[in-house]
């Protein structure tokens, strides 16, 4: 394949597929928890791409180290996101983001 480079292409195709699934899931679904999972899926797709591209640029471990940082950041992001989703559920008894509609012009 010309687009994704040589050695890593299969892995990166999987990563691209995961990223697309995550992005489409985020845009299509209205359940906050599913949307949160979709974001995590996108981040993990990026991780997979980073790690597999590291095969292509194998002299250094940049891709692997990057993936570590992404995992740590994703954990922090998920915890804040879950807290917000939980508070939203307590107030509205709903986990659907299209019920977040009190703020309108």
């Amino acid at each position: 394949m010309i687009v994704f480079g040589d050695a890593a292409e299969h892995f990166v195709l999987v990563a691209a597929a995961l990223f697309t699934i995550g992005a489409v899931g985020f845009l299509v679904r209205r359940n906050v928890l599913v949307q949160l999972m979709s974001i995590e899926l996108m981040l993990n797709a990026a991780n997979l791409a980073l790690v597999s591209y590291n095969r292509l640029h194998a002299t250094e471990m940049t891709g692997h180290v990057f993936a570590f940082f992404v995992i740590a950041v994703a954990a922090a992001e998920a915890s804040v996101g879950l807290a917000i989703a939980l508070t939203f559920y307590r107030l509205r008894s709903s986990v659907y983001s299209d019920e977040a509609d009190t703020l309108r012009h």
């Binding site: 940049t62 940082f69 950041v73 989703a85 703020l103």
Partner: protein
């Protein structure tokens, strides 16, 4: 001693980080433990938020002083600073943003102290969050590597998500939810773009990416052009989301309106400025090669269209708002459009980047002041939100109204204020870059914008509140007063003597964006 000079090079960040840790300890240890039956002890109105607000403002201003002294010494004179590149680039650009972000963050902290006390919001974690978010913003302005870019971007964003949802009521949580979901999505876009860039070029540092991009099309180049374009689009889209540019602006009005006003201020000021800083670094550090940055191909035509769309949409919708806070949210979208105009102009004009920096500086002080004045116009349980709420303020509370007017006039870009020279610089840069159409569109837009800013003045000075409507009674707060005074001083100072910092802005804007 290179060691010490390295420490000095990052001292603004270190000061803010240490201050944040100390503040967290002070906040956690200084509070009575929860009662045994689990009831939360409330100390509403105890002035605690005020103390912490002053504390975090002191920390941030100290960080700003360190950044300023770094500027005085000259980052290029420090022997150890080069060793931090590309993860953190110590140059005039990052020192300049260090001062600007500390100023914006510190003033937001002062607003926060006054606001949380007045409205009895017993959530003093606001201040550590604000400090960490400012730290992330400062790191973002100095990031020369995709790794630090992502980590700093998320440090800033995660702090702000929590700040938005600080009040646990429906509107605030709804704002936080929207901001979080779209922000997380944008962050994921940026990250995947970064991963693809790493794959295409083998570099995560912006300078290395820039060099690889420069080899596209030459014999022997292994860099796939299509992949680089896709990656660039993803990274830049994620960043445009943070600056609230059309079409990535949908979250802005809701998040700005639902958030507590000091958090709104911080979002409008620090987050936007830091996002513009990294946008400049990415575009001119990694994608400055003419294969991706010429008028025929690459990002300039796209960004030019987005700049026009951003300012026009922002101004048109802002004029139709009934809530002043929401109007200011749309106006901040419009301001992102003017600054983007400067970014596009920087492609061909040497003064483009400097014009963006001055624009952001003027925007920072004017916006902090405007939101501060809006805070000051409301009381506990009766926040001033709509135009009606402000009716008659001019006669009954002349000082508040005068300050508010000054900031709005500056935002509108009327002469003798900082905002005027901010807009002038951007338009001159556009003319210098021979983008005459863009300059004219920008000029027309600023006339459009003047309408809704002046409408606030009309309500304050020429309308009386309807007899049975609740009258706006301004709150009293020394902290908010100080923040407004500082902002007003700077707005007037830079409005009368813009050349006093002209050389500094030029020096910051002409630093190489990546190394």
């Amino acid at each position: 001693m290179t060691w010490w000079s390295t420490l000095f090079a990052v001292s603004p960040l270190v000061v803010v980080a240490l201050g944040a840790l100390l503040l967290m300890l002070a906040e956690a240890l200084g509070r009575p433990a929860p009662a045994a039956d689990g009831a939360v002890v409330t100390d509403v109105g105890s002035g605690r938020a005020g103390e912490l607000g002053i504390g975090s403002a002191v920390v941030l201003f100290a960080g700003g002083v360190f950044a300023l002294s770094l500027w005085m010494v000259g980052p290029e004179a420090l022997p150890g600073a080069e060793g931090l590149a590309p993860y953190f680039i110590v140059d005039r650009f990052s020192a300049f943003f260090g001062v600007m972000l500390c100023l914006g963050g510190g003033l937001s902290a002062l607003l926060g102290g006054g606001y949380l006390d007045e409205h009895g919001i017993d959530r003093s974690e606001f201040f550590p969050l604000l400090l960490w978010a400012t730290l992330g913003a400062m790191a973002l302005a100095g990031a020369g590597d995709l790794l630090t870019l992502f980590v700093a971007l998320e440090t800033m964003s995660i702090g702000v998500y929590a700040m938005v949802g600080l009040r646990r009521n429906g509107r605030a949580i709804e704002a936080a939810l929207k901001y979080f979901l779209l922000g997380g999505f944008a962050g994921a876009l940026t990250l995947f773009g970064a991963a693809l860039l790493y794959g295409a070029t083998g570099h995560t540092d912006l300078a290395g990416i820039g060099a690889s991009v420069g080899t596209i099309g030459q014999p022997g180049s292994t860099v796939p052009a299509g992949l680089v374009l896709v990656a660039m689009a993803l990274v830049v889209s994620g960043l445009l989301f943070k600056v609230a540019a059309v079409p990535f602006h949908m979250w802005t009005p809701d998040a700005y309106e639902g958030a507590p006003t000091p958090a709104t201020t911080f979002m409008a000021v620090a987050v936007k400025c830091a996002a513009f800083a990294i946008l400049l670094r990415v575009l001119f550090g990694a994608f400055a090669d003419e294969r991706v940055a010429s008028w025929g191909t690459g990002w300039p035509p796209v960004l030019a269209v987005l700049a026009v769309a951003t300012m026009t949409v922002g101004n048109l919708i802002a004029g139709r708002q009934e809530s002043v806070k929401r109007m200011l949210a749309y106006s901040s979208i419009a301001h992102a459009g003017y600054a983007l105009l400067g970014v596009v102009a920087a492609m061909r004009s040497g003064m483009g980047q400097a014009s963006v920096l001055f624009y952001l500086l003027a925007y920072t002080v004017s916006t902090v002041g405007a939101f501060g004045a809006l805070i000051l116009c409301g009381r506990r349980g009766a926040e001033a939100v709509s135009y009606e709420d402000l009716a008659g303020i001019g006669r009954r509370h002349p000082v508040v109204a005068l300050a508010f007017s000054l900031f709005l006039v500056s935002l509108a870009g009327i002469p003798a204020t900082a905002g005027f020279f901010g807009k002038l610089g951007v338009f001159l840069a556009a003319i210098d870059a021979e983008l005459y159409v863009l300059a004219v569109v920008g000029l027309l837009n600023s006339f459009l914008g003047a309408y809704y800013y002046l409408r606030v003045l009309v309500y304050m000075y020429m309308r009386e509140p309807s007899p049975n409507a609740p009258r706006a009674v301004p709150m009293r707060s020394g902290q908010v007063g100080v923040a407004i005074a500082v902002a007003a001083l700077l707005v007037v100072w830079w409005g009368l003597f813009p050349l006093s910092i002209g050389a500094d802005v030029t020096a910051a804007g002409s630093a190489p964006m990546a190394r």
